[in-house]
């Protein structure tokens, strides 16, 4: 059976203000796959997501999302940014934020209707935050904010969900509940997900595929294969020690043995 690729990237090159951020990136993501994107700080993970969203124009190469140029498939793509980028004093309720998700489908200038509200409430219910509808967005905890942003992304019924370090600054318990919710989305909606994360140990247990980048693609495949070859350590510029815990594969990255830091 031929698997349809939702994302196709070939020889992608991105230059931002004279600095080459991505160089010769070639990868593809199949429909219904849950893919983790890892790499050290400054590796270009967020830049890659922004290219897929059409927010950054590539300097070279080809990028296709659902067969379209980036930005032209916006009604099929959902995006969840980091929660740390928001102004906590902004006077909007959680429901208002989720309603913004309908902008993907709505025509310019058309006021939000009853159907939009129902769609937003359904997305909130799916994300498990319907009870927070009338609360001010800025008063929510990090984990709650993240779920609201997931609901916003789900509101437009996307087929591809891009998440940029969604668990930054969130405690372990909330992270656990967040990942459980993601799993249920994949199972129930057959969504394609690309998740950028630094929690290598956690996401290796969650994803179907793992991509490790640092300006270029270091490895791309099943998590066990990717972590086995030590290529991840090369991308991070240090050695990788993989600790096995039952059927999970948490691991940590260490600096050079003569070095003093442990990452």
């Amino acid at each position: 059976m031929t698997r349809i690729n939702v994302v196709e990237v070939k020889d992608l090159e991105v230059i931002v203000r004279g600095c080459k951020i991505l160089d010769g990136i070639t990868l593809s993501i199949g429909a219904g796959r849950f893919t983790g994107l890892i790499g050290p700080n400054g590796a270009g993970k967020t830049t890659l997501l922004k290219v897929l969203l059409g927010l950054i124009k590539p300097a070279g190469g080809t990028v296709r999302v659902f067969g379209h140029k980036p930005g032209q498939a916006h009604n099929l793509t959902g995006y969840v940014p980091q929660t740390t980028n928001f102004d906590s004093s902004f006077p909007v309720s959680a429901l208002d934020v989720v309603m913004m998700g309908m902008l993907i489908k709505q025509k310019l200038g058309r006021p939000a209707g009853k159907g939009d509200r129902q769609a937003a409430e359904k997305a909130m219910e799916r994300a498990g935050v319907l009870d927070l509808s009338n609360k001010r967005f800025g008063s929510l905890s990090g984990g709650e904010c993240q779920k609201v942003l997931i609901a916003r992304a789900l509101c437009g019924q996307p087929r591809l969900l891009l998440l940029d370090e969604p668990t930054t600054g969130i405690d372990a318990l909330s992270q656990d509940s967040f990942y459980t919710m993601l799993k249920s989305l994949i199972e129930n909606l057959n969504m394609t997900i690309l998740l950028v994360s630094h929690d290598i140990g956690v996401i290796t247990n969650m994803v179907d595929d793992l991509i490790c980048i640092n300006q270029k693609v270091y490895c791309h495949g099943a998590p066990a294969e990717v972590l086995r070859d030590g290529v991840v350590g090369q991308a991070y510029g240090c050695e990788a020690e993989i600790l096995l815990h039952g059927h999970s594969t948490p691991h940590r990255l260490l600096g050079q043995h003569d070095g003093r830091q442990e990452l």
């Binding site: 969203l53 059409g54 208002d96 913004m100 902008l103 310019l108 001010r136």
Partner: protein
């Protein structure tokens, strides 16, 4: 109070105050939410350049102020996008340049008889019926555009990146907001003056934002405070 309103000029002044207060309050919501509070000061003070150039060229001052302020507002938007810097930096650059241009234009005139103080401080008691109609038209126009683009503008202020992801032409939306600000400033200057307009575009909006939990409360608070003021 009733006796005061029975005088035609006072009734017009109250009506003008209510219309301009509402107009400035509606725009102030987006100025405060987008954190571009300096824009009111920037565009209103830049209008001084429009006054001076209009006087130098001998054209209608309202028309020259409107054209100049709109161009200034669009230039601010273009510069901030082009440089990637925050709007406040572009406002600072354009505002001081416009004022300087105004001073040069006044210097080129052999003698001028325009009342600069009326532009600085306004003259709400001298409001004519024509001014009232212009203010009412501006309020209707601005309200209509804001109502039509409300959810897009709210998303733009809350999360500009999300607005772009949704396929909204954010550059055009930003330009629209800036032109609405310019229209508001131009219409208000004649009645309230450059200094008071910049205050009305920021002060009560900021108070409203502090008091309100929701943007609708914010809008109502800003309108009430502006009209009371």
């Amino acid at each position: 109070m009733l006796e005061m309103i029975s005088h035609g000029f006072m009734a017009r002044a109250f009506m003008a105050g209510a219309i301009i207060g509402t107009l400035c309050a509606i725009i102030s919501v987006f100025i405060v939410l987008k954190k571009i509070s300096f824009i009111g000061v920037g565009v209103s003070h830049s209008a001084f350049g429009g006054v001076a150039i209009g006087a130098l060229l001998g054209i209608n001052l309202t028309v020259s102020v409107f054209v100049f302020s709109t161009l200034v507002a669009l230039l601010i938007g273009w510069l901030s996008r082009r440089s990637g810097a925050h709007e406040d930096i572009s406002i600072g650059v354009v505002f001081s340049s416009s004022m300087a241009l105004g001073v040069v234009a006044l210097g080129l005139m052999e003698g001028y008889n325009i009342d600069l103080f009326s532009f600085l401080f306004g003259s709400i008691l001298a409001v004519s019926n024509n001014d009232l109609w212009i203010a009412l038209t501006a309020l209707s126009l601005v309200s209509l555009v804001i109502f039509a683009l409300f959810k897009e503008l709210l998303a733009y202020c809350f999360d500009e990146q999300w607005a772009r992801v949704c396929g909204i032409n954010v550059n055009r939306l930003q330009d629209t907001l800036l032109v609405l600000i310019a229209v508001t400033v131009v219409v208000s200057i004649k009645l309230l003056g450059i200094i008071l307009v910049s205050a009305l575009l920021v002060m009560h909006g900021s108070i409203g934002r502090t008091l309100a939990e929701h943007y609708l409360e914010f809008l109502i608070t800003a309108i009430l405070l502006n009209c009371y003021y």
